[in-house]
Symmetry: C2
């Protein structure tokens, strides 16, 4: 199911192949986010053209609307949204734990209020597996309890117990044999809690492991330490998925540590807010110096946007609030990260990953180079 094709000697970085029902995914892989069964502004053929092999959707959001029975009736999530690559579905644990849902946690699951009818409902590990089974995603993430950054040790301990308990219940409730099932490691930033959560979930032998509860406000070094710790605990033969991380430098750092899979709304959300990535750092497409800049966003980039349009044109579209602006910027940003993953895989295969990473970081953070 997961094969390590190449393990760099100098770092933890590795190239792998994750075989899912719909697609063999080359790792390290970045997944754009299709929370509501669409990657905002883009069509599946565009996503594919950028070299995307896997995307991630959200079980809880699709449960709320349009409903998983409807998607099952449509022939499953792949057919519904016309994507023939791999689909991961996030459990929605992270999304449901928000003020707007007036959630209450107990051992049974998460109780929340649906704004449509203002009634209270339960979201349980079993329901979450039923939804994902019906959606027919390639990889289901089990329901977890992600404590907010700044939780006390006791609060985190409670969340770890719950996450572990829900992990076992999810395995017991597995209903789609074709689907891979990944657990999500929690434990805040308390090393002993991280260890406790990981060791218990690893014992249950999931198909892969998500590292959750990070990039939610904690300092960068604490995040890196926590990733590093978790990676020592996940068996090397299992795919490792760092959830919610998508800035290019973070991707490359985490790959060094041995992470295989990523997802983030970062490239598409930034694009809709007129910010694109280039080799030389981020670029604000409303920067006044771009008004008459007829170069593409990135002269070395092969994306549709860079092959056809200038910074001046994008500046004009954003200024006029034209929707095409968001779309062209999204194409560029997702392509940028997919290209970065391709280059990372090549660099790992050729045993020059650290050099590649350091050069990228140097260029990306050098303001003098900013075009």
């Amino acid at each position: 199911m997961f094969e390590i094709v190449r393990q760099e000697k100098m770092s933890g970085a590795r190239v792998g192949k994750l075989t899912t029902p719909h697609q063999v995914v080359d790792t390290p892989a970045f997944m754009p986010v299709a929370t509501k069964a669409t990657i905002k502004t883009l069509t599946p053929n565009e996503i594919r053209e950028m070299g995307t092999q896997a995307i991630i959707s959200n079980a809880f959001h699709l449960y709320l609307s349009p409903g998983y029975e409807l998607i099952q009736e449509a022939g499953g999530l792949h057919t519904f949204m016309d994507w023939d690559g791999a689909i991961f579905t996030d459990s929605g644990g992270f999304q449901i734990l928000r003020k707007e849902f007036r959630f209450k946690l107990n051992n049974k699951g998460i109780s929340y209020v649906n704004s449509r009818d203002a009634k209270r409902y339960m979201y349980t590990p079993e329901l979450c597996m039923e939804i994902q089974g019906a959606l027919g995603s390639d990889v289901a993430m089990v329901l977890d309890d992600c404590p907010p950054w700044g939780s006390t040790r006791d609060e985190v301990m409670e969340s770890v117990c719950r996450t572990v308990n829900w992990g076992q219940r999810s395995l017991d409730a597995r209903c789609n044999k074709n689907q891979l099932v990944f657990a999500i490691l929690q434990g805040g930033t308390y090393p002993e809690m991280r260890e406790a959560c990981a060791s218990r979930l690893v014992d249950m032998d999931f198909d892969g492991y998500g590292i959750g509860g990070l990039s939610i406000g904690e300092p960068k070094d604490v995040m890196h330490e926590t990733i590093r710790l978790n990676l020592t605990q996940i068996p090397p033969e299992k795919p490792r998925y760092l959830m919610g991380v998508g800035s290019p430098v973070e991707l490359l750092e985490s790959i060094s540590l041995g992470v295989d899979i990523f997802d983030s709304a970062f490239p598409t959300r930034n694009a809709r807010h007129q910010t694109v990535m280039t080799r030389y750092g981020q670029m604000d497409l409303r920067r006044s110096s771009l008004v008459r800049d007829f170069r593409p966003i990135d002269e070395k980039c092969g994306c549709y946007t860079c092959r056809h349009f200038s910074r001046a044109y994008l500046y004009h579209l954003f200024k006029e609030s034209e929707l095409l602006a968001m779309r062209l910027a999204s194409i560029h940003n997702v392509h940028f990260l997919q290209e970065l993953m391709r280059e990372a895989r090549n660099a790992i295969s050729e045993e020059r990953y650290s050099e590649f990473r350091e050069q990228f970081k140097r260029e990306y953070s050098s303001p003098a180079n900013t075009a």
Copy 2:
């Protein structure tokens, strides 16, 4: 420059070829609207894939922003927006005559207030030709004075005098020899004013003629009578362009009368407001009966949207206010009109246009057939 390939014996309908610097345009032709150098939500390759040969942009809007010198510096409008087909540019006469611009008309031109600096500027026939020459559009429309529906005979007479005078000044100011120049016929719905305006402008021997000032509130039969009248005055060898008309039945009726070219924001604007065209009339994509309707918008349609997505998916996207919804509906609607034009050209060539038109109208307006 314009060749009539086929003239139906039974009606005024004709198939032609309009040779422009960038593209030979098969007529009858429908042009989607790219007012601000973008067809809202769509890329040029999508527009092309639908069979679009010509689009229309707006000289006045591009003059206001980003400016015609900038677009000239970019290499012209074709390069700026990456469209290699034909581009018509509307003069903007119709657009400037709006309350927001606090316009004042005089014989010199149109004075308006630019909201950016709250200052008053003049827009003249000469400036309008200079802008369009610099943009490098294939067809320039001369500045006209379009009186609002309900104007008195005296008001319309004044506007006709101005339009005729501006027509001559535009010809004198012609600065781009590659560009075709079309006049715009005005005269409200007063037959003698229409005739006066047309005969004077026809005497000036423009490359083609726009029929302007219609579809702005007047009754349908008055509009048809006015078109019919104007068409008797434009020499048959000249291309005839009915401005701002885009509903399918109106297109087919006008083709019968001998119109060659159309433009309208109708298909794209409706699409953004969740309304699509089908053989059996318009469909509101938020209609509750579509929630579980897994058929495409139109089972016989070959557009990207219909080949890949269901009504249920589009319903879901519109419900969630996903931008992809507007885009997929726009693709369908523009494709629908381009397909209608292809079928019209075939029907004319095969001397069965009236039959084709009547059958379309029957199906399109039959509520019992609505799927």
